[in-house]
Structures are given as C-alpha cells and as structure tokens.
Symmetry: C2
C-alpha cells in the first residue's frame, strides 16, 4: 500500500455490515449485496440508509431475479445456456433485447451509537413504488437541511430507465414523495445542504448517448420538485483513474475554500476510486480544483473481491470538525467506513 497516495484511514472493524448480517425482506429471498448507504445524524445516533440487493436462491443452471409488478415481487427465471441470455456483467441480465437488473434493491435503515456498530432500525423498508421504480430503489443520498428536513435522492430503476426520485421527511416515519426529479438516464444526485443564492442546487450524473459521457452536472431548483439550468461541470479524463465514468458522492462539504465534493471515478476496467472536486462557494458551476490522484482506491481485500470487485463507492458521510467519516460500498458487497482529513484533502487540491 505504500506506493499509493490513498488518504483514507479505514475502520479496523471493516466490513461494518455484510449480507449475512441482514435479514432478507422475504423468506424466499437472499441478501446478495449491501451497497452504498446514505448517512445522517438523527436523535443522537448515526444512521445509514443501506441499499439491500436481493434475489431468490439460485437454482443450478438457471438465473433468477425479482422485479416488482404492481408493487408485488415477481421472479423471472432464464436457463443459463439459453443463447438469448447475456449475464456477462453480474449487475445486469440481458435477454433477447430486454434488459433487467440481476438483483432487486430496497433501502433499509440501520442505526449506531458509535458510528461503527450498526443494527437494523426495524423501520419500514423503502421498496420501489409504482411503475418508475419496478426494478427497485438504489444509492440514496440524504441531505440534512438546516430547517430539519431530510432530503432523500435515490436512483429509481425501472423498465423505463433509471432516473432520480426525491422524498422528504422530518421524522423518518412519514415521507413526502416529490416525484422523479430527473429523467433517465440519471443517478448519483446529491442536493447541497444549503441554498446557494436563494436556490436549491444538486449534483447529478446524466449519461450521454452518441455524444457526451457519464459526467457530473449541476442543476438548480426553486422548490425541489422542478429542476433546470442544467450544466456540465466535470467530465471523465482520458488515461486517468476516472477515464470512464464519474459521479458525485454525498452532499458537498462547505469549506472556506469552496464546496468540497467527494466523487467516484471509474476507469475502462470498472475500477472505482474516490476523488475530490472543489467548487466555487458563490457559483458552484465553477470548478476551482480537482484531484489528480485518487483520494482512495480499492486496496483492501474486501474492496478488491466481492460481487463486483475493485470498487470503493461512497454516497454518505458525516463531518466532525476536520474529520469526515465516509461510509462506502466495497466491491458492491459490504458496507465499510473510513476517515479523511478535510485539511489533508484540500492540500491535494
């Protein structure tokens, strides 16, 4: 590990949560992966909103995966030797021109007194609702607003594509659904925790087709429900660790030098690392600085090997003075944490 510039101090308790620690949502399902939690403080505890990816126990020679039909889980099964089937990417199932996800994800709350030992909060699961979430809900960012609102932006996956859904809550008991705020193909949406010049701002990751790519964009809103003034702020960089796709992590951290955005970048081999962007405080469409080297890369065994190896992916953190604790999905399998010094990160920018 000595040759890298990895700045993250991993928790010695990693992984904090593994699939076998979690009860499936139904007895006939298995928890296949835990991924990419949103993170917040509430009532004196640290909470993580984990993406729990499930599928049925697999029969030999077949692949089975669930989808939601009218809000109920239904299972599709194909023979693995069917020539119309393509499962070359473990995250996807392609069959005769139709595309599905290999697992169905819901979001589940876990809480912790120390930020390390988490237990299932036994609160209702967030299951996909309606036709625009029939392939599940994923990778939720939680923005903690000064007025006590929590804003949940998550990937709403369906046969219509994946877009960004938004829910608002104050008490984690009742939720207001503000609809799909960004149409396909869009994900990795993080709302700033305060307004900039009287407007809400979010980072998001639309995907280009023919032209463009998987780039980080910024959008604005007066009311959270309707968004506009979309603009691209960070592209992939050829030949670098973030050459293939980039996407924002959790809400930016306000520093004296600017908005600090922790983002993920993947290369052509789908190796996911973390880096940072620094955005102008007054005009966050202006990028002041960007990491040359990753802040964090898959190094630990649990980051290199799993459902989809060579992945560190974060979309949730808590800040305590100079220390930011990121919670992250490792190898699309387990939940981990690590700390970074904000000062040290800024010194690289």
């Amino acid at each position: 590990m000595t040759t890298t510039k990895d700045l993250a101090t991993r928790s010695i308790k990693n992984p904090l949560l593994r699939p076998e620690d979690v009860t499936p949502s139904r007895p006939d399902m298995m928890v296949e992966c835990l991924l990419n939690p949103g993170v917040f403080r509430f009532e004196g505890a640290v909470w993580i909103l984990v993406r729990v990816a499930e599928r049925p126990k697999q029969e030999e020679g077949k692949i089975s995966f669930p989808v939601l039909v009218d809000g109920k889980m239904d299972v599709l099964t194909f023979d693995l030797d069917d020539p119309l089937l393509d499962v070359s990417d473990p995250r996807e199932v392609k069959y005769d021109g139709e595309q599905y996800l290999s697992t169905l994800s819901h979001l589940r709350l876990f809480k912790s007194a120390d930020g390390v030992h988490f237990e299932d909060a036994q609160l209702p699961l967030h299951i996909g609702i309606g036709e625009l979430e029939n392939f599940g809900v994923e990778d939720c960012r939680v923005a903690t607003m000064a007025d006590g609102d929590f804003l949940l932006t998550y990937t709403a996956a369906s046969a219509s594509g994946y877009g960004v859904g938004l829910k608002r809550t104050r008490d984690w008991q009742t939720f207001e659904h503000l609809g799909l705020i960004l149409p396909p193909a869009n994900k990795d949406c993080a709302i700033f925790e305060e307004q900039v010049k009287g407007q809400y701002v979010c980072l998001n990751r639309p995907s280009g087709i023919i032209v463009g790519g998987h780039y980080i964009w910024l959008s604005f809103s007066n009311d959270l429900e309707y968004w506009g003034r979309h603009t691209c702020i960070a592209k992939t960089r050829k030949g670098m660790w973030d050459s293939s796709r980039v996407g924002a992590g959790a809400a930016p951290i306000k520093t004296e030098r600017g908005w600090l955005v922790i983002y993920h970048g993947a290369d052509e081999n789908s190796r996911y690392c973390l880096g940072a962007l620094l955005l102008d405080l007054e005009d966050p469409t202006q990028v002041i600085a960007r990491s040359e080297a990753p802040l964090m890369e898959p190094l630990a065994d649990y980051e290199c090997n799993g459902f989809f190896g060579e992945v560190v992916f974060t979309n949730g953190h808590i800040v305590d003075g100079d220390e930011v604790t990121i919670y992250y999905g490792a190898s699309d399998s387990v939940i981990c944490s690590a700390t970074l010094s904000i000062k040290e990160v800024l010194s690289t920018l």
Copy 2:
C-alpha cells in the same frame, strides 16, 4: 404504394427545399442536409425554422467536420484509413473513444405566403451558443402560445451530450434563453400550446442506459425554466415499426377526443415512420390510443434515398380545420410537406 395504410397526401412540389437551394453560412462550408423544421404562423405567413447541417467540402481520403470553439467554427479532419476512425453511421464520427457529429447544424428561418414556396427570411441564424451547444443546435419545435409567445425547444448538442434548450420570443428578433431545461440524453421536446391544470407540459425523449430505451416521456413545469414530475408514457414496441426508438413530433393537437400527438418511430433498421398517440385532455399522462400501423412511412424516392435513407421525421405542422399540414425531413436531406385529415387519423385510433 397500394398495400400500405399511409394516410399522408404528399405535396406535388416535394421536396420544397433542398440543400442546393440554401446559401451556406460561410463560403468554405457546404450545406450537406436540410432537416426537421419547426413550423409556425406569424404576420400572415407560414414560417419554417429549418435545421441546416453543414460541413466543409470533403477532401479525398479524409473526413472533415466543424465544431464550435468559443463560438467560432473550427474544422477537425481525420484520414479515412485511420484505424481509430469509425464513420459507419453517416451522422456520427467516432475517433479513439471520442464522439462527434459529422455535420454542424444551425437553425434558419424561411417564410412562405402559400406554405409551399419558401424563401430565406434573411434573419440572423441560430448558431449554437456556449459550451453546451458546441456541436450545434437541431430539430427545433415551435409552440405558439395564446399569449403571443413562441417557445422554441431544440436539441442542444455538445461534447457534454445532447439535451433540450429553450428560447422564448414574441417578435422573432429578440430571444430569451431559458437554459438547458432537460439534461442529457434528451431530445424531441414539444411543449403543449396551452397549460393543463395550470401547468406547462412537454413531451420529451430521454434515453435509457442499461435499462429503459428511447421512449416518450411527459414532464411538467410552473415557469418553463424548471421541470419535474417526469413520467414515461410510450415505449417502443417489439416486432413493430416503432421497435427501436420513438419520439414526439410538434406540439400536440387539441381534439375533442384528446391531445393528438404525431410521433416518429424507428425500427432496428433505423427506418423512421410516423404514428399517433391520443392523450387524455385532463391528464395527458394517460394514453387513450396509439397507432397500430404507421400513418406515414418512407415511400417516395426522396424519403427512401438521401444522406440517411428511409426516413420521414416531423417536428412541425400547421392546423387548418380538419387538415394538418406536416413539414418533415425526408431521408435527413430535404424538406417536404404532406397533409393528413385529423378525422381520418382519429378514426385509426
């Protein structure tokens, strides 16, 4: 032609405008194609806002195409035998992982007293402005609002992807730019010419990646600048003429039975036909009916052969009682017109 159900009566003057009828924007450019005009009535005339696609005169053994750099046209050239070059689709240029468009489009106004004979209105060209339009502007819909505003929604193409830009004018001399209203990958945006339940409504065509496809969506806005409540209303249909991609034409036509949307559909061979959707007047997210057979398909020689053959594509029309005159791009080369009877179209739905 007797075996098809094609309902369109083509103008005997087709094509109405060909590339050789149009002066290039610069002496060193050639007009390669005329495409997909927006259409409106203004000051007693019929106007079309044509997409004019240009590129430099091509040298043997090379491919050259323009892009905008800081608002100025710049020309890129590659050797045709360069193994890193891919020009298998005449509309695109791929080189070593980078993607470009083979032509640069601007929008230009032509006017006509009779709707058949058009002349260049000699008004300023609409050239791409800024980084989000550096690959040009394309396929503009013009919504004519009751208050005298014209709303222009067009494809803003750039190295960041293609999204939907919006401009507003009353006099066709001065234009207010409302920004990129829908981020990539999105195009084919048509704003309804009146509000529904107090909100602006638009059809648009985001593209899915991994899941989803090239489907027609509906979005809502209170102010035209910020959009939300995105929902998918029409998907492609396997084995049919619209199996590969669908997208809205111009603003829907209000009929007693519902909002009549003329849309394009393409199959796996990129053969573009036109069909219709009927949407509920009160709740346009509800699709009442949809064409089984195309209303119009590429049949005439000028529709079958050209820059990109087998294409009829409309995003502009005028309505006169029961008669709708669509203006359309044929084979991505020339501008044509045809009439449809609204009653006859409705009888197929």
